[in-house]
Symmetry: D2
Subunit: 371 residues, 4 copies
């Protein structure tokens, strides 16, 4: 059982059902003396918030975060940070007729099989809304990684001297692929449009496609990329807890994700060793690599090069197009048209979630590595 | 630190360096009363053994496993099972000149950065040889999953009534792709040839390609697929410990893996919801799905359909073709030609390793789910 | 870091500072289909509530628990149960002058050394108030142990057929010791008086002593015993996770506890093997023991006999009698008289906390043992 | 299940049955660059070795340790250290007649109930022989604590600047109690006699008592104290993972232990707050305490004062005096006289085991605290 906690040292536990009282998260293991305010977290929550553009779900949640513990006089205490976001704009009536229906592509059937009970309203615990808690925790992780953590106690060394930045963007939606771009360009452009695609021309096409798909009552998938800059060499543990293994778990744990790749990823299957290997050279007294096919990791340990990972995001399963399904109670076939408010493409809103997961992995390993 | 353990309930800890005394693994959490012999484990070890075909490395290890604890009168005791495989055919001389060299695509540089020390002989802890321990543990997991576990104590219910089978095969090497095949055909054919490809025509082409590549002094990557049949619905935990997340971690933790996908995987990025969703229907009083694009998992919980995962395997980094690299001690550029005995394509030998990892995930979740 | 979580399968994470917004706990791993209401939890919270008798602290907290997730239509979902208790009767003014003072016997000094910061109001995270969250979680554990868990899903077997009861009582305060009593008598009497001592004569003496001590501006320690009835044989894991080891950790983690013993405990040091050993005999076709010196555990595994543990509780460190201490900021000696509202003897209020910890250990091992 | 691992960061997994092939331990999470040889470990193993004095068991094991991994050119690699001790002097014949007997005070009954199978030879996994693996791991922990760890990698800070020493001794056997002594005197004297009692006069009496008891065919219990010197302030985590809680678990996990206390321990139950509290004062610019009733811990966090813990050790259950018991197979009462080779008082040999457990707790928390 269990399963709602992540991380060994910087340990995050989320809770909450989509139409329950609230969503929340407890972060245990955050260092003391970090400056932290609700505004730090709110910034990230606003990035994933529904209802902010015409291509996202219409549920309107302010998603105001409240810190209930672990912060005192604007600094972290080193004790658990409890954060809570109330569920406000909850309308469960569209879910009443779906009470016993196994919606295709959703967790209704598997949860019912596992538990014999489920909160059918808005997907319950399996809802994408759960990610609000991940993003809240990730916001703290990002702040630690960014190196704001300058406090010092007698017994601990808290100034990490690190400055790790994490940037996510959409690289593909429904077959439309962004062109290859430099990291700085990606960082500059990605937040400038509703699809979070740094290639502005592709972004326009993606927006158009999503609108068309929405009008069809359908949805569409895509690919999100996350880049971590400034990760020092030496993060990650050998064998099972390789950094790429932990990233794969973290990213695959996001609801709609069906694939994860690092560096050149599946492309590696087609390459020769002489093409794949990143050659080393000495540059001004430092060891560097000419290419970064490995995506910043060798043997599961960071090399100092940017860490690059991509995830395959499936199309949102909730579509208004007619589908065939079953009533799990009456055990009979049913025809299904899902009304309600759903993203036609979840990729843009997954960007901050994916960033949060990468941040949680890195901060946990930053501390594991200090050992 | 740490990182050499896997699983929460069926917990596996591996140890050993490639050219050290021995490789080993401790399995803690295996149920009592399971019939178990060294022969059960040896069968799987022989499948990954080097030196068995002309396309694999020439290091010749008998890889005879020795059970040192946890088994009494041919049955498991419920206490830790310690297994050991001596390293016999060790010749460290080719590694002497590479002592300070960061071999491209290998973990030399990242380990050196992390630890300030490494066992440079044969890759040390980062060697693919570490997987011998995984396969030994996986052999026990497979036996538990297969349902041989019929013993019963007063206080525990050990007869799982499960019959889970795990089958791996190579689906692509260097761009040559096997045709789509039915599971039974895959199971029948995969072990019949040196590349472990069930499409016998493609298998021939792959073998030819590997030999050509070997002659060039180069290597080549590929894709391995693992299928788990008979997994009951309800395995996996919500949110972070989703079954697909754990599979992704397990598979990505294998040395050469650069990507993991479940079901249609990255293909999902190009699909519409109406194409991706697997529709449910009632068949003879049971809920079934017409398709299995999801690969047996919804919301991270198994549905009862076959679990299907694929991994991208990069080309072996050790190639005899000249490469540029650096001496980490002298901090100068060097030219490098790696002699020694290396697989030109590691995919066939990764098949039993990937199966072992899937088995370890499933057995752990089988017990977590019993809770 | 971290440290605010307990249990491997039934996993509890507490949060909150004494004078912060609220106290709370997340329980992850509680089985689905358990009937659960806030009233179930409130009953136990009321038992540890301050301000209920003249011998306890005067802080007046209603301690009303709110369930925020994990329960749907009066049944558990199998997903995390988040519970929250607001801090209402908070008056931090008496703590202002103590801001930089290391109160003797309190965690001020050690927290300041560890973190370089602390919430000095009411003890912050180190306050006994933290135990309100433990008791809330323990209330759920007790309900599971009592065997109310009759639901059944397809894939899991949730009817434990167990009926474990946990009873705590005070056996000694300030040298006054209760006489030896039978378990049923203890259960009947313990809750009948303010000191929770089943020996009613001793209880009167204890009450009198506590009042005297309180008038002196001092405090007094004691011993609490917890008995678990109906624990099936076979709970506990060999070697490090012995049931007595886990109980020792759980009980020693309660703030004021300085010792833990199982069965005859420290008395064992004076006994011979022939006196200590509990002899077995056959009674109506069952194996029983004539005595229970071992306290229900052999080799760390339960035998089916009652589990008996005792804890040594130190006198409350907050006393109004003058004490010598230091100002950690000015680095100078100070004279100290602690005003404020404190229990003169914490033992009676520790009873429900100790019961909660025993319940948490047992429920976790009940599930570990099902594996 | 599981249960044979200890520690979160410095993680130890033991394996082996008393009359199986070997005993062993894997230490994962030891820092790299620590100088380590088999001799370092052998020293501690020799201290717990059976057959070294006339008051210990007659099983004669050389207990020669072999390091199989994790050490390269006399330095640790940061990867798992696997150690193995062969079981040589094994004579299982005395156990044949006891195959189905539940020996009083032993784990035969509880293991049989739990697993439905057990290795009855020499106690199997429940044997005191298991502690050989703990002592081997503890020897490494002690070396790390002693501050031999001077290596440095680029990314990690390995020079702990700590110098923690751990000293155990016997303070009571069968009612004979050693007088109060200063730490230095304890350290000087404890290893000078077979009972490991620093009070040489009491030691003589204890030795005499043990011999008498042995002649009676009986055994006797006692109390062992472990002192840790040089522990910096700030070790331990709040709430559940308090340092005293972890020490309690570690020590209670040793086979014969029935009680654990910290500082004044159970004596605290009789004290007033004004007597128990350790007052602070400023001494040459440092904060000190006049007394150490708390045993070096406040709020579960170390204060810098010596950590003092004591354990109650029950008399060895294996006695040759006649006892009543049962045959678990035939389900009938039996008379029992246990032949074989057993310590009449296990206390002296538990000293190095208790030290090892304290070392394992401290080293794990030293690293947790560095986070």
């Amino acid at each position: 059982m269990a399963g709602s906690s992540f991380g060994k040292i910087f340990r995050v536990t989320t809770w909450g059902e989509s139409h329950g009282e609230a969503m929340g998260v407890v972060v245990d293991g955050c260092p003391a003396m970090l400056e932290l305010s609700e505004a730090d977290i709110q910034y990230e929550l606003d990035r994933r918030r529904p209802g902010v553009s015409e291509i996202t779900t219409e549920r309107n949640e302010a998603d105001v975060v409240k810190i209930l513990s672990g912060v005192f006089e604007s600094r972290t205490l080193g004790t658990p940070i409890s954060m809570l976001i109330w569920n406000r704009d909850v309308d469960s009536s569209p879910y009443e007729p779906l009470k016993d229906i196994a919606r295709p592509g959703q967790a209704d059937f598997s949860y019912q099989q596992k538990y014999g009970i489920r909160d059918y309203r808005g997907g319950g615990r399996a809802s994408g809304r759960e990610t609000v808690a991940r993003v809240a925790a990730g916001a703290i992780a990002k702040k630690v990684l960014a190196g704001q953590d300058q406090g010092q106690s007698q017994n601990q060394n808290h100034n990490h001297n690190c400055a790790i930045r994490i940037a996510g963007h959409v690289v593909e939606i429904g077959g439309i692929r962004a062109r290859e771009m430099r990291v700085l360009e990606i960082m500059r452009n990605a937040e400038s449009n509703a699809v979070r695609c740094a290639d502005l021309k592709a972004a326009k096409q993606m927006e158009r496609l999503i609108k068309e798909i929405k009008e069809e009552g359908d949805s569409v998938g895509g690919i999100v990329e996350v880049i971590a800059l400034g990760v020092p060499a030496g993060l990650g543990e050998p064998v099972f807890d390789k950094l790429d293994a932990e990233l794969a778990k973290a990213l695959m744990s996001i609801g709609a994700v069906k694939g994860v790749e690092i560096g050149v990823g599946f492309e590696a299957a087609k390459l020769k060793g002489s093409e794949m290997n990143d050659e080393f050279y000495i540059d001004a007294g430092k060891i560097r690599m000419r290419t970064n096919n490995a995506g910043g990791l060798l043997g599961g340990i960071s090399t100092g090069a940017p860490i690059i990972c991509r995830i395959a995001v499936k199309p949102t399963p909730s579509i208004s197009k007619p589908q065939r399904s079953v009533d799990m109670q009456k055990m009979e076939d049913v025809a299904l048209e899902i009304k309600g408010r759903h993203d036609s493409c979840i990729c843009p809103r997954i960007v901050p979630v994916a960033e949060a997961m990468v941040a949680l992995v890195l901060v946990d390993h930053l501390y594991r590595c200090k050992v």
